[in-house]
């Protein structure tokens, strides 16, 4: 996955993500595609959460998956979650849950609660930094006011390994997160961060907007054979647009 939060020169915030999934889950030799990725694409749907006839949140779902991994509360915040691989990953959390140790919470449910119940950026940031989780992950948060953007690097339990904030006053007008700790170099065989960073810098802050960000996320290898969709979120306008993504060959497998 690749997630981006960017602020334009007027202080307006945009949040977008590529959802990549299906690595090693079946390779279709004839079509040169990942089998599970192809199965997931037709299940993608935008969901508008309504209560009392009013929209309280929006999310991108795979039909039948009730948690949120991409979502927004119009006028308040947006979030996306990228997978973090750890040996002490979610599998141990599942076993603990099954044997009755149920302090932790499930990622998709936590993020759905966070979006639907959000009142402001800071309290949600604090909640997601400390909530007890069964699995690690990178939670990317965007707000509605200048400087409201963060990458929360989460471990299992209540530990946040790192929180990196947007800091436009000091030149950090965008954040990029893929699937690796942002304070370390990504592995040589999977570096989508460098191309995304290069394209963000080429685009420049003057051109931040849905068009520019979509172009960045559509550039190979940021877009790759695992990419199922690109979601574009603009909290101030309350828009969440999702587009299916395909990556015609030649295209990197991940």
């Amino acid at each position: 996955c690749t997630s981006l939060v960017a602020q334009d020169k007027t202080g307006d915030l945009f949040h977008a993500r590529n959802l990549d999934f299906g690595l090693f889950l079946g390779w279709d030799v004839k079509n040169q595609t990942w089998a599970l990725t192809e199965r997931l694409r037709p299940l993608i749907i935008n969901v508008e959460y309504q209560q009392g006839g009013k929209t309280v949140a929006k999310g991108v779902h795979f039909a039948g998956y009730i948690g949120v991994i991409t979502g927004m509360k119009p006028g308040v915040l947006s979030l996306s979650m990228n997978e973090r691989f750890q040996l002490e990953g979610g599998f141990i959390g599942i076993i603990e849950w099954i044997i009755g140790q149920r302090d932790g919470q499930w990622m998709g449910f936590v993020l759905r609660d966070a979006v639907v119940k959000a009142t402001d950026f800071n309290s949600t940031l604090q909640y997601l930094t400390s909530v007890d989780l069964l699995a690690p992950g990178y939670i990317i948060l965007g707000g509605n006011s200048s400087g409201e953007g963060a990458i929360i690097t989460r471990s299992v339990g209540t530990k946040a390994d790192n929180v990196k904030m947007l800091d436009p006053a000091h030149g950090t007008w965008y954040l990029v997160e893929t699937n690796y700790d942002n304070w370390k170099n990504p592995p040589f065989f999977d570096d989508r961060r460098a191309p995304a960073t290069k394209c963000m810098n080429t685009m420049s802050q003057a051109n931040v907007g849905l068009k520019g960000i979509f172009n960045v996320l559509s550039t190979k290898p940021v877009r790759n054979l695992l990419t199922t969709y690109t979601a574009l979120m603009h909290v101030r306008n309350g828009t969440l647009d999702t587009y299916l993504q395909y990556c015609p060959q030649p295209c990197f497998p991940w």
Binding site: E83, N215, T219
Partner: protein, 120 residues
């Protein structure tokens, strides 16, 4: 770096937006005033066949690590009762999806906790 070898890396795109209209994803309204058991029905019922195929793929993956029969038993016997331990409204929503699609509850649970399974 592997991805920097041509032809896998492009110059930064400037022409991808707007994307083709037929790639835009539709919207489903989830009414939180409805009972949890009913609120997803309108979405999942017409998509039941696609969901079944996808969940079978996930089960096949689990079957690589334990044998296939064991995997099916594991999913049906271990994961279905797990539903009772989830907070509401998620319990009710999972049951509603299983009822609407005819997919066994354990398999619906597996699909919904697949992130936790997959991070290993």
């Amino acid at each position: 770096k592997a991805q920097e070898f041509p032809p896998f890396t492009e110059d930064c795109r400037t022409d991808a937006y707007p994307p083709p209209v037929n790639t835009k994803v539709g919207t489903y309204v989830l009414n939180l005033d409805q009972a949890p058991e009913d609120r997803w029905t309108g979405l999942v019922k017409p998509m039941a066949d696609k969901m079944k195929i996808m969940i079978q793929d996930i089960k096949d993956l689990v079957g690589i690590f334990v044998n296939e029969t064991k995997a099916i038993n594991l999913v049906d016997e271990l994961l279905a009762p797990l539903t009772d331990t989830f907070p509401e409204p998620y319990q009710g929503e999972l049951r509603g999806i299983a009822n609407a699609t005819g997919i066994p509850l354990g398999e619906v649970v597996l699909y919904n906790i697949f992130y936790e399974v997959f991070t290993v």
